[in-house]
Symmetry: C2
Subunit: 501 residues, 2 copies
């Protein structure tokens, strides 16, 4: 059934207006975190508020609703069909929440974030507790408004990873956890531990920047469509497909922060730079989910840049950037040290093996919270119990325990699983790629072009045209499957720690 | 007669929305000229188009018209009254031009600018001529739509310098010209010419940047509310009063580009940083005219930074930044060289004495063009004749003659006089300031705080609350008076060139 091209033209114009506000907002966000003078922040925040309100206004307008109804199921292309679907999703997610309640929630979010920071600084969970209780209440209600089939938490998961459910996670996570905790105890019993102290040593900031840039260039990151800057909390941001910026930070006593951080953000950036250009100015010109986005950053950070093959080619180059500290360090000591596994309290500092265990602690707690099986006041105790159960360590304070992450203070329940999903997706993608490409040979030859092209052809170019589980199915021939991650870590760490098989 | 505060609230919200778009546009403009990767420009231009259209939409909306009618003459404060006046001005300037004609004009502008660049590169006036003819036609018609009392050109002057007229300029400019050309011929006959070659010498870019930053800091530029970056065509831009950015460029063989350029842009930036904070998010939070803005940059660049008193304090500091080139150069040779006067073809490279003559060439031509006394085809010949008459030199090509400036290609007729007005205003301001402050003592002591505060109290803080000639009247007790500029340049250059008095 054909639909008037007039409606599609109007619909596209609205999407373009929305995307324009979002691009301006993106640039302001980048600027505030990299270049903006500190006194300008208050004024800029007001401008952000005005532009965000315009996005909200378009997303919930009568005009877009009418166009969605007119175009749904009758769009002239699959691209237009998906754009209509995304617009409807955004429309419904927003209008289902009573306007007054949403406004109160937004106010609470910004209060809660600064209270959380104070609570974390002072190790004072009680200060944060009443705010967190309210946030949980809102999110429980939002989940009801949005609707779900099995578990209330599914409604929240959907915001970050469409199609993901408690049912799937409850099947997958325990399996992964069992394998990881088993491996972890073997590792802890090993007599062949790497010595991370060998990585300490002065590495001048400008040399780290030069090496990081060189790594981005080799990955295929296009510096004519992006740039690398310094910031406090690194991120990558796609303003449009031809302007995707990476940020990093430098620790002159520990190059890992900048080098692995830049490669991680570079993985995100490659995704955004290579989304098909014909999706520009639509909501489809974006990564399809948090989990798939994370799969791209983790693929490059771990499956490439922490692999033996990668360093076989790059270690001697690396040594030329900081010869004073590294020229006498043998390759294998270096390679093993950058892959040290050790349970620790802070998620963002965790190694690739224990990282997923940190996520599972959070998943179990927030699922139970939203489901009403536990309450906010129980969190500190339960957090520590889960940490002991999964990682074998107990935080000495809430600051390095339940208060460490910013997410809950912004009401972001359902986000954490994306990180673990990113690992599993990355492992699946890695396995699928290896059926077609000799990935180790590419790394040993420093030829990343094939790898980048494969990712673009199979993942990047689609943007949101395909949904996350559709991407995974099409790329790997199966749904979410944790076995690939388990196989990967098992083989890798058996080797590094010389475990018996 | 009191008016509903409801109307003022609605009016303020519209102004804030407009100012928010303008701030976002400003940041995008800064970014495109300093940081943005080159491939991102096309997408960014589309976003700029969308946001500019929103500004236009607000300025010409029925809603704002109704509010203007409701509030005019009945606003609750002088600030609100002026904001209403500015909004009405913007409304009328826009709606008086038929929408279709305006759209055609905007398209023509962007075509003309790239054709102009090509014509300039190839010294091909004939290529540009048809575009310039159309632009002149539009501007003649716009002037009719906008209306004027005496001269059609007044309607264009008004866009840049409200209150300025051909009648005033025709009285003032010949007087200034006579004085300047007389002085110029004395200077050219002098046996005591400075030697500009003494200024040539390597000055490393990072040292120039450090010295430029130090100068900005001493002027009172607040780096917590701004920043200094490198660009191709330097500018200053106020995003909000707490985020006013300066740009400069570096020539390692000629420090003057960066040092005087930075101080010039710093003068603009001090104006914007010190506009009263309670004008934020209104059209009043801006310089009151191009001429007054230019008076601020020129005051700092010339009246301060090219003065003998200034260098008495700063020359030894300057020498420490590039000792290899300047440690043996005597102070007076340096001081005289940075004030060399010499007729040249390119306006933006002109010295402070001949600069105004360049402006008068352009003024006479564009006034006659808009008035219909001459036509575009006559320009190259007339340009060269005027250059010979005023400056005594004839360009060898149109590229270094009539094609040198970008302004006309953007339809900016009426803008050039602002530059000369800026000089005259600066001289008047300088004279007024010296009645209250010992400016030379301040410079010799490196104490610019008094100067900056005086400028803020008398000029900066008002933003657009006062109109340009109102500022000049209030500061100096008189209207536009060229005698101060004449006295200043006469005394200064008699001294430097040791002319008989």
């Amino acid at each position: 059934m054909a639909v008037s091209s007039h409606a599609e033209t109007k619909f596209s114009a609205l999407l373009k207006e929305q995307a324009s506000y979002e691009e301006a907002i993106g640039l302001m966000a980048w600027d505030m975190r990299t270049k903006a003078p500190k006194k300008g922040v208050d004024g800029r925040s007001e401008v952000l508020g005005v532009l965000s309100a315009k996005v909200h206004e378009i997303q919930t307008s009568e005009e877009i609703k009418t166009l969605i109804d007119e175009l749904k199921g009758r769009a002239s292309s699959s691209k237009m069909e998906r754009a209509v679907e995304e617009a409807e999703e955004a429309y419904l997610r927003t209008v289902k929440i009573p306007a007054e309640e949403y406004r109160e929630y937004v106010t609470l979010q910004s209060q809660a974030e600064s209270i959380w920071a104070e609570a974390k600084d002072n190790n004072d969970f009680a200060l944060f507790q009443p705010y967190l209780e309210k946030l949980v209440d809102y999110k429980r209600r939002f989940a009801e408004y949005w609707g779900y089939e099995d578990h209330k938490y599914d409604a929240l998961l959907h915001s970050y990873e469409p199609g993901m459910t408690v049912r799937i996670l409850d099947e997958v996570f325990p399996k992964v956890r069992k394998a990881l905790t088993g491996l972890l105890s073997d590792i802890q019993a090993s007599d062949n531990k790497p010595d991370p102290a060998v990585l300490e040593g002065h590495f001048p900031k400008d040399k780290q920047a030069a090496f990081s840039e060189e790594m981005l260039r080799r990955m295929g990151y296009d510096f004519d469509a992006g740039r690398l800057d310094e910031t406090i909390h690194p991120f990558a941001i796609g303003l449009n497909q031809n302007d995707v910026r990476v940020t990093t930070k430098y620790d002159e006593q520990d190059f890992r922060t900048a080098v692995f951080g830049t490669i991680h953000e570079g993985g995100h950036a490659l995704y955004e730079q290579n989304i098909s250009k014909d999706l520009a100015f639509t909501p489809l010109a974006d990564g399809t989910s948090m989990g798939i986005h994370e799969s791209q950053s983790l693929f490059w950070e771990n499956f490439i840049a922490r692999s033996e093959s990668f360093w076989k080619n790059h270690y001697s180059l690396f040594q030329t950037y900081a010869p004073d500290s590294f020229k006498d360090l043998p390759f294998h000591d270096f390679y093993k040290a950058v892959n040290e596994v050790k349970p620790s309290f802070i998620r963002i500092e965790a190694d690739e093996l224990t990282y997923c265990l940190h996520i599972m602690v959070r998943y179990e707690l927030e699922k139970a919270l939203i489901g009403g099986e536990i309450e906010v006041r129980d969190l500190p105790k339960l957090w520590n119990e889960k940490m002991e159960e999964y990682l074998g360590i107990i935080p000495s304070s809430d600051s390095e325990g339940v208060l460490q992450d910013i997410h809950w203070s912004g009401g972001d329940f359902g986000y954490f699983p994306s990180y673990a999903l990113g690992y599993m997706y990355a492992a699946q993608i890695n396995a699928a790629m290896r059926k077609e490409i000799d990935v180790d040979a590419c790394m040993e030859n420093g030829d990343f072009e094939q790898i980048r092209k494969w990712l673009t052809a199979n993942i990047h170019k689609y943007g949101k045209l395909k949904k996350p589980l559709e991407i995974i199915q099409d790329v790997t021939g199966e749904g979410l499957n944790p076995d690939h991650l388990i196989t990967y870590v098992t083989e890798k760490y058996q080797n590094i720690y010389q475990l018996s098989r």
